[in-house]
């Protein structure tokens, strides 16, 4: 510590601090002057001007870009469009004996695609606020377009046009929510901005089975039992493949068959020979009881 002489000691304290901060600072203080574009658009070339003379190293650092190039001071630096595809802040640095820097922003280009998220993929009919969609406009380079844009949402069911609505984007997002339609089948939903559109298809399906009923008769092979056409409470046929579980009980034994609905009807064969009581269930829906006598 002997190198801290009394000369330093006489400097006011604040000044001492600045002096030593300056001494410890490794970055140069004398900066080169750079003129960067006031506005730039993604995918477009830009020009950055420098002043002074002599050789220098030019750097451009931005999202997805890092360029290092030897330049002559006082000449313009041309930045190619492919180096400015990502929107965001870019940092230009010029170093000769010392370094200078400037920042500029590249704005997103025009909307070229729409990311459109629609939910759910399958929706029961007649449900309020059951369908929702969110759209994000992106430019050709994958930048989110943040300027307000009018997005048109359209939805059409198999038998009806559900809605058409125009929603303005805010911070690059537009969304909607709507009720599902009355009939089952594909629901086509489209989001569009001018010529750019994004279609989606979701399935409108029947709700839970309603008034489930069975009938049956004894045949040579056993008791052939089947449901009446299975519909939901709005009268739409329940999706084929939905399992109906048939239960037959009698004489201390029981038989069960998990049968899928095919063509609105589920069928099963019960081989019990004695008198049995048969019922069926699908989800929370239960059927009537059917009593069949023995052979």
């Amino acid at each position: 510590m002997s190198w801290l002489t009394s000369t330093v000691w006489k400097i006011p304290r604040a000044g001492t601090l600045l002096l030593f901060v300056g001494a410890c600072w490794v970055a140069p203080s004398a900066a080169q002057e750079l003129r960067v574009p006031e506005s730039a658009m993604a995918g477009q070339a830009a020009v950055i001007s420098t002043n002074g003379s002599g050789h220098a190293t030019f750097y451009l650092i931005g999202p997805g870009t890092s360029i290092k190039r030897e330049i002559n001071l006082g000449e313009d630096v041309h930045v190619a469009p492919e180096s400015l595809e990502d929107s965001g802040q870019y940092l230009a640095i010029v170093c000769s004996e010392s370094c200078g820097s400037a920042t500029f922003y590249v704005q997103p280009s025009h909307p070229a695609s729409l990311s459109f998220l629609v939910h759910p993929s399958r929706v029961p009919d007649n449900q309020p606020d059951a369908v929702s969609g969110v759209a994000f406009p992106f430019d050709h380079f994958g930048n989110l377009v943040l300027d307000p844009l009018a997005v048109t949402f359209q939805a059409a069911g198999p038998k009806e046009k559900l809605f058409a609505r125009e929603v303005s984007t805010r911070d690059g997002v537009a969304w909607f929510r709507t009720a599902s339609g009355k009939s089952v089948g594909p629901l086509h939903i489209t989001a569009s901005i001018g010529p750019v559109s994004s279609p989606r298809v979701i399935a409108q399906v029947a709700s839970e089975p309603c008034n489930l009923r069975i009938k049956g008769q004894r045949t040579a092979k056993g008791i052939l039992v089947e449901t009446e056409p299975v519909h939901d409470c709005a009268g739409n046929p329940v999706a084929d493949g939905t399992i109906v579980t048939f239960n037959a009980s009698g004489d201390g034994e029981k038989s069960t068959v998990d049968a899928p609905i095919k063509g609105d009807v589920a069928r099963a064969l019960i081989t019990d020979s004695g008198p049995v009581t048969i019922s069926a269930a699908s989800g929370v829906a239960m059927t009537n009881e059917l009593r069949v006598g023995g052979k």
């Binding site: 510590m1 801290l4 330093v8 000691w9 304290r13 001492t16 601090l17 030593f20 901060v21 410890c24 600072w25 490794v26 970055a27 190293t57 750097y59 650092i61 999202p63 997805g64 870009t65 890092s66 360029i67 290092k68 990502d86 929107s87 965001g88 802040q89 940092l91 640095i93 170093c95 370094c99 820097s101 922003y105 997103p108 998220l117 939910h119 759910p120 929702s132 969110v134 994000f136 992106f138 994958g142 930048n143 989110l144 943040l146 805010r170 911070d171 690059g172 997002v173 969304w175 929510r177």
Partner: protein, 180 residues
């Protein structure tokens, strides 16, 4: 005795100032050698149309911090490995491009003492995407090889899109803007 102590302290005070000043300037360098300091504060009160669940909020906070910690590592070491799986879509593309471009130019960058004020502005009705605004402050250093060519505190504004992945929320869009 008391006067003596005061005199010694007064004499030593410039030394203490010098040491403190140098230390404060050296701290960022020493910090960059270890795990980068990343502070994230998340405000979900403005999120709509869906309210952010507490568990989701905790997850977002942890995953966003984790992503920035690893992003800082990735751009400092010019390797994609630390950020694999945390940036997808456009964000994944530009992170990969950034690292590749840095490698090509022989540059590295350091994001030191990060402080992110994150505000959730949009949370989709089905909870499958969230938009956030990040007011980020950090000390940015750019190095050409071992030569420091930029060393400044910076304030950045990011528009962030996050979506739920298999086991975490991932960053799908990370786009800096001039202002919100």
């Amino acid at each position: 005795m008391k006067n003596m102590t005061q005199r010694i302290l007064r004499r030593l005070s410039p030394v203490i100032y010098f040491a403190a000043a140098c230390l404060s300037l050296l701290l960022p360098f020493s910090a960059s050698a270890d795990a980068p300091t990343v502070l994230v504060h998340l405000d979900v009160n403005k999120a709509s149309p869906r309210a952010v669940e507490e568990q989701t909020s905790r997850r977002i906070l942890a995953d966003y911090r984790f992503a920035w910690t690893n992003l800082a590592r990735a751009v400092e070491t010019d390797t994609i490995e630390p950020v694999r799986g945390q940036f997808v879509g456009s964000a994944g593309k530009w992170v990969a491009e950034t690292i590749a471009a840095q490698q090509k130019a022989g540059l590295t960058s350091r994001h030191i003492n990060q402080n992110h004020k994150l505000t959730a502005t949009f949370y989709a009705p089905e909870g499958d995407v969230m938009e956030l605004h990040d007011d980020a402050q950090f000390h940015l250093q750019v190095l050409d090889g071992s030569k420091l060519i930029y060393d400044q505190p910076v304030v950045m504004h990011y528009i962030v899109l996050m979506t739920p992945g298999a086991d975490r929320w991932v960053i799908r869009q990370l786009q800096s803007v001039e202002k919100f």
